[in-house]
């Protein structure tokens, strides 16, 4: 109907005018979405709370795993290698040997326990004061306590390191405290597996929750969608408010998750301090960090948007009046 005065109205508008109207609709939809959330505060809070909880759990788990890594790094002290030296080496030779061991790339620190010091220790620990003082000479050897670097803390690597030191001519015997390390790593593997299961479940849950909420909302706004389509609205026009809506939910859920993680960390602080105190290491729980917070919020928005998209895509056609 090209020449008709009344009908050509819409298409005669300039491209610029139409684009600015388009942008205005985007802007309005964005804030309409926010307003709509505000109009039913309790309902909105319920949905946001569920999303927030679902986001907080994997985020919190991530923080814990990161902290556990830091913690196990702090426990590297346990992965010591003790080099029992041959008897009768002079203090100078021992110091020289300690320096050369210290130069190895896998070694973080070397502590020298001289034969005299070893005897004192032994006496203190065994309580054999009388017996040992009967001995004319000190039967105990000097010991080098080697602290491997982080890269050599894993049982296999530490073992390798120990073997190479065992080959040194001045070294009589090598002992390594790997038992505790193995235990720790087994516990961490267990936790890690658990956290993975939980994280996968909860990621699914977030998409389902947002999708579900948006789906039910679409049902609720079925009339609106239907009427808009009957009046000539395109699919994109109809979809837009739902996508913004989902994104707002996701963002709000992300913020709540952040707060929950902070609370969770505060609550975990006590037991962690206690645990760390037992190992005498310097360690305090680290939080999400700026990038973690940004990731959490962005993740919330993306998941919310995604859930909406899935729900809308599935239901837009179903509502099609044709």
């Amino acid at each position: 109907m090209p020449a008709r005065d009344s009908g050509a109205q819409v298409s005669r508008r300039t491209l610029g005018q139409r684009f600015s109207a388009y942008l205005a609709h985007h802007r309005q939809t964005l804030f309409d979405g926010l307003q709509q959330l505000g109009r039913q505060p309790l309902a909105t809070f319920m949905t946001v709370a569920v999303i927030g909880i679902a986001l907080a759990l994997p985020a919190g788990a991530l923080v814990l795993v990161n902290n556990a890594r830091g913690l196990s790094a702090g426990w590297q002290g346990t992965a010591r290698i003790s080099l029992f030296l041959k008897n009768g080496l002079s203090d100078g030779t021992v110091q020289q040997l300690a320096d050369s061991v210290r130069a190895h790339s896998g070694v973080a620190a070397v502590q020298v326990i001289s034969a005299e010091q070893a005897l004192v220790d032994f006496q203190r620990r065994s309580g054999f004061n009388d017996t040992l003082s009967l001995l004319g000479s000190n039967p105990l050897p000097a010991v080098l306590v080697v602290q491997p670097t982080a890269a050599y803390t894993a049982p296999a690597a530490a073992q390798q390191l120990a073997q190479s030191f065992g080959a040194l001519p001045q070294v009589d015997q090598v002992r390594m405290d790997v038992q505790w390390l193995k235990r720790l790593q087994a516990i961490l593997a267990l936790l890690h597996r658990g956290v993975l299961i939980v994280a996968v479940l909860l990621a699914i849950a977030v998409v389902l929750i947002v999708g579900n909420t948006i789906r039910l909302e679409i049902e609720n706004r079925r009339a609106e969608i239907e009427v808009s389509k009957l009046l000539g609205a395109t699919d994109r026009f109809v979809r837009r408010p739902f996508l913004y809506h989902g994104a707002w939910y996701g963002l709000a859920g992300g913020v709540l998750a952040w707060i929950l993680v902070l609370i969770g960390l505060a609550l975990m602080g006590g037991p962690v301090d206690q645990l760390v105190g037992l190992y005498g290491s310097h360690f305090s729980l680290s939080g999400l960090g700026a990038s973690g917070v940004l990731g959490l919020l962005a993740g919330g928005i993306v998941l919310g948007w995604l859930g909406s998209w899935l729900a809308v895509a599935r239901h837009l056609r179903a509502i099609e009046p044709t």
Partner: protein, 228 residues
């Protein structure tokens, strides 16, 4: 402007709502469709608004075969057809103003133009004072008039109305029909489904009559009306 060629519509339920219907409405014509309850009047209008697709036959609007429209083209086509629905189809959570403005928002009309045009459309149906009300705060007749304002606001070249005066008193019905006549006089093609034989006769417009999905010859139809 509007041509039906042997159009049939059989719903999933098995009802043949239209059975081989053919008729033409010229550009700029005003045509009434009458017939008893269940005759297929709404079905006819739904086919025109692309709410339903015909089972057989062809519908040509403005030289264009509706069967050939692709999904993407449907929204643009719908903007060319103003529809007044039998059940209003107002958005219950939006104010009267927002309801009437919806076609403009969908059509991408600049925001600053909207209030003036909504005001003018509401003025036409005598409901400017109800601008801020929600649909449920209106009487049924008022809702029907809001639906009319929404259908005419974007000045579509074709206007179709399904029982637009079913809930209006005789005086208001007459006024609404006069409004349609005025729109028709500025060149809009108007198609109205109505039971109100008295009113149609009074307006002196052309009408077609349906019964069980078929056209009733004008002589018979005229006879039927005389009896009421």
């Amino acid at each position: 402007m509007i041509e039906f060629h042997e159009v049939s519509k059989r719903y999933d339920g098995g009802n043949e709502a239209l059975a081989g219907l053919s008729f033409t409405a010229e550009r700029g014509e005003m045509l009434f469709v009458t017939g008893p309850s269940g005759a297929g009047k709404s079905t006819l209008l739904k086919l025109l608004a692309l709410i339903e697709r015909p089972s057989r036959g062809q519908i040509i609007v403005n030289g264009r075969n509706l069967g050939g429209l692709r999904r993407r083209q449907i929204p643009h086509y719908r903007r060319q057809v103003g529809v007044i629905f039998q059940d209003h189809k107002l958005l219950l959570e939006r104010s009267v103003f927002d309801n009437v403005a919806l076609p403009l928002v969908i059509g991408g009309v600049p925001r600053n133009e909207i209030p003036r045009r909504v005001g003018a459309a509401l003025e036409l149906v005598g409901l400017l004072h109800k601008e801020r009300a929600l649909p449920i705060q209106l009487s049924t007749g008022e809702q029907q008039r809001v639906g009319i304002a929404r259908a005419v606001i974007s000045r579509p070249p074709i206007l179709i109305a399904d029982e637009p005066t079913g809930n209006l008193d005789p005086e208001l019905s007459y006024e609404v029909m006069r409004l349609f006549q005025r729109l028709n006089q500025v060149g809009i093609t108007v198609l109205v489904a109505s039971h109100d034989h008295n009113l149609i006769r009074r307006l002196g417009q052309r009408f077609i009559s349906l019964r069980a999905g078929r056209l009733v010859p004008p002589e018979l139809a005229g006879g039927a009306y005389a009896g009421t």
